[in-house]
């Protein structure tokens, strides 16, 4: 037991470097997921089938297949089509488009949560559909869906551990490397879990803080 703790203490810096990579991957994927999700979410609500149908297929397919399979498909599958991606871009793209599907559903619900009169008032002032969305609907929608988005970001941070399988040395992989040299499985996985928890807990506090800041008095 003492040995286990010693290993954890000695390799803690190394694990934190992995955690930094986890944060980096999560941050980029979150941004990608937000952008994709916003457009796909709007697409799902479009009256035009040319938008709503592809958006539905996107959401259904990405939610209906395992993230691990999607990661393999992008990192190992695309090269056979002549498209070689390095591990980091492959990881971020896989996580980003996957998260985009979940964010799309959240955004869709958010847009639907804004009363119809808001859109009508905006249009009655001469705004285009795009202007009404950008200045009136989406700002209100995002305020309403902030808690749900927070959950999604936390899920994404945890799911990023899956990209350890394509050789990215993020937190999970860092832990595995230490264990392969020291066999201190319990303390290292325990330490890894604690670091994940520290990150998700902080993230959820940040989301709650932003939520409070944005609430109208």
């Amino acid at each position: 037991m003492i040995y286990q703790i010693q290993v954890l203490v000695r390799s803690f810096d190394y694990l934190l470097i992995g955690a930094l990579m986890t944060l980096k991957i999560t941050a980029v994927s979150v941004l990608m997921g937000l952008v994709i999700g916003t457009f796909v979410g709007m697409g799902r609500l479009s009256k035009s089938r040319a938008f709503s149908w592809p958006a539905s297929v996107y959401v259904e397919f990405l939610r209906g297949t395992p993230l691990l399979v999607q990661i393999f498909l992008i990192y190992y599958g695309l090269p056979s089509l002549g498209l070689n991606l390095k591990a980091f871009p492959a990881a971020v793209i896989a996580l980003g488009i996957n998260s985009g599907a979940y964010v799309a559903e959240i955004v869709r619900a958010g847009i639907q949560s804004v009363p119809k009169g808001q859109y009508e008032a905006a249009r009655s002032l001469g705004m285009t559909h795009g202007q009404a969305m950008r200045y009136i609907i989406l700002p209100q929608a995002f305020r309403n869906i902030l808690p749900a988005l927070g959950n999604e970001f936390i899920a994404l941070l945890k799911d990023s551990s899956l990209v350890s399988v394509i050789g990215i040395t993020e937190l999970m992989k860092s832990g595995q490397i230490v264990i392969s040299r020291t066999f201190a499985s319990f303390s290292i996985y325990g330490g890894v879990a604690l670091i994940y928890f520290g990150m998700t807990f902080t993230l959820s506090r940040i989301v709650r803080y932003v939520e409070k800041r944005l609430a109208i008095a």
Partner: protein, 244 residues
């Protein structure tokens, strides 16, 4: 006086429901038209069709003599036709002043300084200059509706449409909104007002129109309309609404 708006043979269906059954209507510049009628008679739908918030299946609408193309002209048309809603529909995430300045800045390309200057003037006019930095939720219903009127006026519309503007208000707040509308009418604004406020109709309207089941049953200047309604359905409606 010159004609500013003309509606010709307008038909509107909600699925199988035939809500407007051939509406013909002309409006002169500066005229105040009050539309009354039982709920479900199609009066709100008519307003919404004029502003193209609803599509229509048959009929034509002319604005300043030009035929409106519902596919191309609506954004321009809506800058020329202001709309005030029953439930105000102020933008809750924007301050009062921002509610007023957003559309002129984004749609007409007016500068922020210019838009704010104009907003101050209009807020003053509706008596709410001191609320310029409040969020709508802090205002009473009557105040919100007055802000909504000012917001519509920011676009310098040629016509103002009012869709039951006082129906969602507590009785003691109705007066302040009607006062603003009266002031607007006396300044020469062309208005179509759907309302149940018969006092307002009598005092301010140039013409009162009674709608029932999607058709215009009867229309006349208010004195004549209220003193000598000709149609049985009009008489019945007036008797019910004026009896208490």
């Amino acid at each position: 006086m010159s004609e500013i708006l003309k509606v010709e043979g307008l038909h509107k269906y909600f699925g199988k429901l035939h809500v407007l059954r051939g509406i013909d209507l002309t409006l002169e510049k500066g005229e105040v038209l009050v539309i009354i009628g039982p709920s479900g008679s199609g009066k709100s739908t008519l307003l919404r069709c004029i502003n193209h918030l609803e599509d229509y299946q048959k009929g034509r609408i002319f604005f300043e003599g030009r035929l409106v193309n519902p596919k191309k002209d609506v954004n321009y048309l809506r800058t020329k036709i202001g709309m005030v809603f029953q439930h105000f529909n102020l933008f809750p995430h924007l301050k009062v002043i921002e509610n007023l300045t957003l559309a002129p800045m984004k749609v007409l390309g007016v500068s922020k300084e210019e838009a704010e200057k104009k907003a101050q003037v209009l807020l003053e006019r509706v008596g709410l200059l001191d609320k310029r930095d409040e969020y709508p939720i802090r205002l009473s219903g009557g105040q919100q509706q007055r802000v909504a009127i000012a917001r519509a006026l920011m676009m310098d519309p040629d016509i103002m449409l009012f869709d039951e503007p006082t129906s969602a208000l507590d009785p003691e707040l109705v007066y302040e909104v009607l006062e603003v509308m009266k002031d607007l009418a006396s300044s020469g604004m062309t208005m179509i007002v759907v309302t149940h406020e018969m006092g307002f109709a009598k005092e301010v309207a140039d013409r009162v129109m009674f709608m029932d089941s999607g058709v215009i049953v009867e229309q006349a200047p208010p004195d004549e309309f209220f003193a000598n309604p000709k149609n049985e359905r009009t008489k019945e409606f007036l008797k019910r609404i004026l009896s208490f």
